[in-house]
Symmetry: C2
Subunit: 621 residues, 2 copies
């Protein structure tokens, strides 16, 4: 189902109920680009630490636009999954002249690639759903409130700006001026007469802009007017303006908040699946929730607030027991391989009223389709785990303990020895005691490094920038020899990896001290909340009793299945204690036709297929 | 006529001949945004110097994409103009993996505005004509040459990379591999046999990508192969590969250059008209020619190389004798007013085979349409000047002396006392001795400034940033009083405008000295050339004998007409001596299907209608 600014309101309940009934959700996003700095191969280093990788992605990938968001819900029903795929088109259409005028970057190669896949840019730019992050929404609310107060105190502007008289109204398109003049007249009349409410004409077709313009004006009206969109029995929407006192207004807003909160209580505990999803998660949080924090640990905390249970199918496919069976983990290839033995294609059926996807006709790089096949991949791999049970099980639910080891581990591309970012705990710390950090003149090429280390047999060079690289020796005991021989070198310098990390750490501490000292900057702490008011809500502490007994009886003998394979996190991670299960809903606040809507997209976006598919961009060259 | 990557080659001759026969050209561009920094009203200050304005526009507007370029040619024939409008869709599709991967910014409000006007983004992104600026083209040529040499010297790669064997070929779409394999086989055969040439199959329909991929490979072939696109009698194009020695190859390339040069000799002396065109000129030069120079004077020199004769209809409409008659100089309004008395709608006719525009059905913000009505405005205003002659003339040609005073003066938006940027001479230097430069704490608002200067009657405040503003007093003799009273002030500081300019000048000199000292940086000098090889050509000195006797006999009594009105440049500018007439062609180098094409677009782009039309963005607030 395509969801745009035009049909957004009508679709909302369908989206809600699809999420509500689902066993798990799959998501995917398409972006306007990947890296605004160096190309991806220069940007990513095979020996990046998770912190370094996060910092690089944050710096060079967040100014692109996530403009298509795919969501596919999966509901298990009578031995098959019923799917409901959605494609949300997203565009930050400015709400009015004081709302943020977002600038985003486009990368030609990415745009060209999507264009070649038949991507519909017109749909994005003409009908994309607008959005605000939490802070922007709060600001806009404050501004509106301020204007109201200004009037209430008799300061500044008159009760409204007459569309005909004011220069300020020059942004009202000519064809809407009549409409707005009429509304203004009616509202003036309402203020002067004994009526309690005023119903505007129902909105049809292209008129969705009108209420928007109208509200822009209404913001200048004195307090005491409550504006609400009401739906008739015929599903026509109209705007109702009522005279209410301040108390009544607050009561009504409180009611609205409560309705919203009730609606996202239902999404507790749902698994969100994506493919190669780190960048998608970062984009979704950055675009719809809050600017990404500086620090990786803070990012992990925010992520757990927004997406408490993630599963990355690329990481899953790269891990035992799948690693041995799957040669290519790009989404399209993975999907194909999972149709072959020993895997089984899952039984799926598209829900009535939804366009059905045919995996034989690849529609890759449409976010909804990519989300759909990501879900298929997850099901096929999860079910395969069932074959290790005694007796074997053909169906493994999204709540099975069997898949828990894959939770909240996001695939890290092109890092040699750290397969994933561990969202709920410390990251793997591989021994890098065979790695040297070498600095040299900028004229040096890879061949110079090979020559320098020619005595040490096979080496591996990972460039950092023009004047530095990591050199991995094949044997750790060679490190000391290399250090000794380099002692008197003038043109180049060698440090052990440990020395390099120590140096970076010291540098960081120096900077942090400075920041704290200068700006009295307080490190934010991100925790989750559903109790604070929506729209103004910030993450705050919350505990929910740990999820228990959710997995079916068929998973009871889980330990037998377990012993057949090992997990990456057995190599040294310590599981962070979490508050049990919390909210897995992602809250995307969307402005639509001038009315603030709260959309529980329940989301988290898998690494734009770009990244996942077109791996030559990352691995190639 | 719509010109895209698909029909570009076919249209080229039509474009050439339209320009060749034209009396003047009108141009217009559409951009992906206007300002990536502060919004336009914060960016532009009513008391900017031309240098400051240029620096701001360069800093905040050049990372947007000029993605639609409108050209309309006007040819006078039997008492009417014949027009040929073109819409070029432009997109920097990367040519191959080593060519530049351009990033450009989109501004939501601009994109939303174009979307609301029905702009076709899919056409831009899917079928936009790719381009390179001079430097990028030279780099790409060098890379290709280098690869050839590497092979000739037996270094590195084999004579070609077999599409099937190499990882490097992973960017070749599956469906083209067969085609390329066949070409590679044929070329291998050619190298081994006694044939002199190899003709590939004609290109039809969607195959335009193939030669591109093919060339990418062919670059790895040894020297001694010449590649050329040849057209059959049936207008089918095919690629011919010939075995030639180095001398023959050079001779052929020289031939090609000469053909190209001959083709743009014909564009000498043509007038290029635009509406509010400063930003368009900057964009066109920046995108297709060379990065904009730091210094305004250097920018003027480059502009004169690329566009030796410009006319800005917004400036013309804002100048006597039009100023008194025209109340709104935005393009759409201007066009309407010029249909009414005392003006006359020009007689125009669209050339056969071109889509005709109807000015009653406004298609504003399509670049070709905007160029078209810009041309109409120019004709109506030029002809009006004829009414001042004795006897009056109904038709004034684009070569008439009557319009010369408007040449090369580009409208400056929102500067109170400098109406235009003078491309061919020093800029106006209005007296600003009633202006004070005030710095103050960032908490100050306009009301604080009004209060501070309350003793001086009417003042005008032009904000610079959070902590500074210009304050214009109504009388110059108040300046000294204000300076005296402020002597002991602690919270704020006042300087005269002259002191402010002196301070800036000193700062600039300090920086320039530093730059010269540190980098041995040599200031470039831009002059024009048609003699150096196209593609590698840089501007170099060139003189052409001054244009003489070009205006018709009907303009002979020109001095009579003159005395009726005054021109802005009578207020103190000194006309710079120019080398007479030089080249007014803008050379846009476009990569198409892997073959370097030279497009003489003959262009210069009027200030994106955005700017011109939606003046509330500039003047409003």
């Amino acid at each position: 189902m395509e969801v745009t600014r035009k049909n957004y309101k009508d679709c909302l309940n369908t989206v809600y109920s699809a999420i509500e009934e689902a066993d798990f959700l799959a998501i995917d996003g398409e972006f306007s680009g990947i890296s605004d700095g160096p190309n991806v191969s220069a940007l990513t280093n095979g020996l990046d630490t998770p912190e370094e990788r996060y910092t690089k992605l944050k710096k060079h990938s967040m100014d692109f636009l996530l403009f298509q968001f795919g969501l596919c819900t999966f509901k298990y029903d009578q031995a098959k999954y019923i799917t409901k795929p959605f494609n949300f088109y997203i565009f930050p259409k400015p709400f009015n002249r004081t709302s943020p005028d977002i600038k985003f970057i486009c990368q030609s190669s990415s745009i060209d690639f999507l264009a070649s896949q038949g991507f519909d840019f017109n749909k994005v730019f003409c009908h994309g759903i607008p959005y605000l992050n939490q802070e922007e929404e709060a600001q806009l609310r404050e501004q509106t409130e301020e204007r109201r107060n200004q009037h209430a105190n008799g300061v500044g502007t008159p009760s409204f700006i007459s569309p005909s008289s004011s220069k300020g109204s020059s942004h009202v398109p000519e064809e809407h001026k009549d409409f707005i003049n009429k509304v203004v007249e009616k509202v003036e009349a309402l203020l002067g007469n004994s009526e309690k409410t005023l119903d505007l004409e129902p909105c049809t077709g292209e008129c969705c802009l009108k209420p928007c313009l109208c509200f822009d004006r209404l913001a200048w009206f004195p307090k005491g007017l409550h504006v609400e969109t009401v739906e008739t029995e015929k599903k026509e929407r109209y705007i109702q303006i009522s005279k209410v006192d301040e108390e009544e207004r607050k009561r009504r807003e409180q009611q609205k908040l409560e309705r919203e909160q009730a609606s996202y209580q239902m999404f507790l505990g749902k698994l969100v699946v994506g493919h190669n999803m780190l960048l998608d998660v970062m984009h979704t949080i950055h675009q719809f929730y809050c600017p990404l924090p500086e620090d990786l640990q803070d990012f992990k905390e925010v992520t757990m607030c927004v997406f408490p249970r993630l599963l990355d199918t690329k990481l899953m496919a790269s891990t035992q027991p799948f690693k041995e069976l799957i040669t290519n983990t790009s989404l399209a290839e993975l999907e194909k391989q999972l149709k072959e033995s020993p895997f089984k294609s899952p039984q799926v059926e598209t829900a009535e009223g939804f366009p059905s996807y045919d995996t034989a006709q690849e529609q890759l790089h449409e976010a909804g389709y990519d989300a759909y096949i990501t879900g298929l991949c997850f099901i096929a791999m999860a079910n395969y785990l069932g074959s290790f049970l005694t007796p074997p099980k053909a169906y493994i639910s999204a709540r099975s303990k069997l898949i828990e080891p894959f939770f909240n581990k996001l695939f890290l591309m092109r890092i040699i020895d750290i397969p994933y970012l561990n969202i709920t705990g410390p990251d793997l710390q591989p021994k890098r005691d065979h790695v040297l950090y070498v600095t040299f003149p900028k004229e040096w090429k890879t061949s110079d490094l090979y020559q320098l280390f020619s005595a040490f047999g096979n080496i591996q060079v990972s460039w950092i920038d023009d004047t530095s690289a990591f050199v991995s020796l094949s044997q750790t005991d060679q490190v000391q020899i290399a250090m000794n021989t380099s002692r008197y070198a003038e043109s180049y310098k060698i440090q052990t990896y440990a020395e390099y990390i120590q140096g970076k750490q010291q540098e960081k501490e120096k900077q942090t001290t400075k920041t704290w000292g200068e700006d009295s900057w307080v490190k934010p702490h991100y925790t989750c909340s559903t109790t604070s008011g929506f729209g103004y809500s910030r993450c705050s502490k919350r505990s929910i009793s740990p999820m228990q007994g959710e997995q079916g009886a068929d998973d009871a003998q889980i330990t037998d299945g377990w012993s057949h394979y090992s997990y990456p996190d057995t190599t040294g991670t310590k599981k962070m204690k979490t508050d049990g299960v919390s909210i897995r809903v992602f809250i995307c606040t969307v402005f639509l036709g001038g009315v603030v809507f709260s959309v529980v997209v329940c989301s988290r976006v898998p690494l734009g297929k770009y990244l996942a598919e077109d791996e030559s961009r990352w691995h190639g060259e």
